[in-house]
């Protein structure tokens, strides 16, 4: 238990400490002691430690802080701080030697400066993204000309991880989307006796839009993040530097297999997504008492091969975008513990934005082509 008694004798205030000057003791006395010293002013304080039984660095820092406030330099400390026991002297010496409070925090960055820095960073980021897209495209063309240069073993492994292993989640989401959409559409359409046309709606929506879009979004969340994390960790572990100095191009070695795998696997997953989504719709229609053949005839009669092809062409582009974005964000990973997390987040966000933008572009193109 620490205590502080304050006595004023002939214009000098004596602060008499007793008990344990450790963290709990200092916490109890800090405010009173600091206020007393500030109120009394420089050169009129004496700090007495004769009755102190225990002192650690927290206590020593406290006493040094008070003696500094009282205006004493380390040389004058023996006049201000008295009754120091032999075992506590080294502690007080160490804390007095400290250049405490010599360094102030760095100034805060103004709003304008911060905005300018953010803008510069975004422009640098865009420049690097475009450069990387160019490098990946060049590497892809080079590999197309010479397929032996592609690391096919890695490519199939990535295809399995990103494609086959993603199948259950793609199926689940597509089935639920088809089911829910059919159910929501069937309720108003039933009022007009037109619930069978839900099959047309589900067929066209899944094949042209939702199948490719759902697959792409699942892959963006699953594979783009995985690519960014893998390549980001490799960058932090200097594995990419090792590839570079061994004369192997990291883009051909790491990015091209992922891009090829994702580009090939996305349309395949989309085919499953389309089928399962349409099946989800069929469950609703069957529950209204229609036979499966009616649903099948409606879908097949309404959805054309052009619709299917249009959806699948989009998927190639989505796969390319997802893989390239994931790899580029991973490649851009900076240092620090949150770097891989940041790269992963940026990969998912960028992929989804690009998917949405390119989906819009495809809609316009298909409109003008009459597809």
């Amino acid at each position: 238990m620490s205590e502080l008694n304050i006595e004023t004798v002939s214009r000098t205030t004596a602060m008499l400490f007793s008990g344990r000057l450790d963290a709990p003791g200092v916490a109890r006395l800090w405010d009173t002691a600091v206020k007393t010293v500030k109120k009394t002013g420089r050169g009129k304080i004496r700090i007495d430690l004769e009755s102190v039984d225990y002192m650690d660095m927290a206590g020593a820092t406290f006493i040094s802080h008070l003696s500094r406030l009282a205006g004493s330099t380390p040389a004058e400390q023996s006049n201000v701080v008295t009754g120091v026991k032999k075992e506590f002297a080294p502690l007080l010496d160490l804390s007095q030697k400290s250049k405490n409070e010599a360094l102030s925090p760095p100034p805060k960055v103004s709003y304008i400066e911060k905005t300018g820095k953010d803008l510069t960073t975004s422009l640098e980021d865009a420049k690097m993204f475009i450069t990387m897209v160019g490098e990946i495209t060049a590497a892809l063309f080079s590999c197309l000309k010479n397929p032996g240069r592609v690391r096919w073993a890695d490519t199939w492994m990535v295809a399995e991880r990103s494609g086959v292993n993603a199948l259950p989640i793609v199926i689940l989401i597509s089935f639920i989307v088809g089911l829910v959409m059919a159910f929501q559409a069937a309720i108003p359409m039933r009022m007009f006796g037109a619930e069978i046309y839900v099959a047309n709606l589900i067929g066209i929506a899944m094949v042209r839009e939702l199948g490719p879009l759902m697959t792409a979004i699942v892959l963006a969340g699953r594979s783009a993040s995985a690519f960014a994390a893998e390549i980001g960790t490799m960058k932090i572990n200097e594995e990419i530097d090792a590839l570079t100095v061994m004369g192997m191009e990291p883009i051909r070695f790491l990015i091209v297999p992922r891009v090829i795998a994702a580009t090939l696997i996305t349309p395949l997953l989309t085919v499953f997504s389309n089928l399962v989504g349409i099946l989800g719709g069929m469950v609703v229609i069957l529950s209204f008492g229609y036979p499966p053949i009616s649903y099948y005839n409606q879908v097949v009669g309404f959805v054309s091969w052009e619709d299917l092809a249009g959806g699948l062409v989009k998927c190639f582009v989505f796969g390319l975008l997802i893989a390239a974005t994931g790899c580029i964000r991973g490649y851009q990973t900076l240092r620090g513990p949150s770097a891989v997390g940041d790269a992963t987040t940026r990969a998912v966000v960028s992929s989804i934005i690009l998917i949405a933008v390119f989906d819009g572009i495809f809609s316009v193109i298909y409109f003008y082509l009459g597809i």
């Binding site: 200092v26 405490n100 010599a102």
Partner: protein
């Protein structure tokens, strides 16, 4: 006469019931610089993890101030942990905080000190390890030696009686390593801290340690203990002699 601060009794060190060290018994006295050494992969760091209560041992006990840390739970465990500080091999500083904030964190969590006091104490601790110039840097901006010094400052934040250091000199240049040795000796002298250090840096061991135990991988136990300078000069155990004299 210094008193025993740590007792290790019948400690079988390892993971998942696989013992890599068996029946370790040793005591550490208050105020001494005690080194656990041995070849690479012999289990030094595992023994350290058992001693700080981070990983439960296969069997055996580690008593700190007479209380068994391997079986301590709840408040008893918290009290024991508050009395020790640990500096990990790579510093393990929190990357999102500045160096100063890293040192302030345990003080903010475990004391009722006002912020002004916490900052003053943290600054003194950083000055002690000669890091007063790097208060506002992030761990990412520090060199390996600076990270280790900041980690020691954080381990000392709550004025522990015992400091555990895992490979403090590993990967440092000879000058930085010597500087760290000087710091350990200075802190042990001025603050009467007991140091338990895991290392195999011979220069460091000979400079700082009062006593060592040497662990043998094949023997799964202590193969030598005592004053490292005497062990270096004693050819009676050929492996230990070769180890200390870097003579394969």
């Amino acid at each position: 006469m210094s008193k025993t601060i740590i007792n290790v009794r019948h400690l079988c060190a390892g993971y998942n019931h696989n013992a890599i060290m068996e029946d370790l018994n040793f005591d550490i006295q208050s105020g001494e610089v005690f080194v656990i050494l041995g070849g690479s992969g012999c289990g030094k760091s595992t023994v350290l993890k058992h001693m700080i209560g981070l990983v439960p041992p296969v069997s055996g006990q580690v008593f700190i101030h007479g209380e068994d840390i391997t079986n301590a739970r709840g408040k008893a465990r918290k009290r024991l942990l508050a009395g020790i500080g640990v500096a990990f091999q790579n510093g393990a500083l929190f990357g999102s905080m500045t160096v100063l904030e890293n040192i302030m964190l345990p003080l903010m969590e475990f004391t009722d000190l006002p912020r002004e006091a916490i900052e003053a104490i943290a600054r003194v601790k950083l000055d002690l390890v000669d890091m007063g110039h790097a208060l506002y840097l992030l761990p990412d901006e520090l060199s390996g030696g600076m990270k280790k010094r900041a980690a020691i400052a954080r381990a000392m934040a709550l004025d522990p009686a015992i400091l555990f250091l895992d490979e403090p000199s590993a990967g440092l240049d000879p000058l930085t390593s010597a500087e760290l040795d000087r710091l350990i000796l200075e802190l042990a002298g001025a603050l009467n801290i007991t140091f338990v250090i895991v290392t195999h840096e011979l220069e460091s061991i000979l400079t700082i340690s009062d006593r060592v135990i040497m662990l043998g991988k094949k023997e799964k136990g202590i193969i030598a203990q005592g004053d490292p300078r005497k062990l270096k000069a004693d050819p009676s155990n050929p492996y230990v002699y070769k180890f200390f004299n870097r003579n394969p």
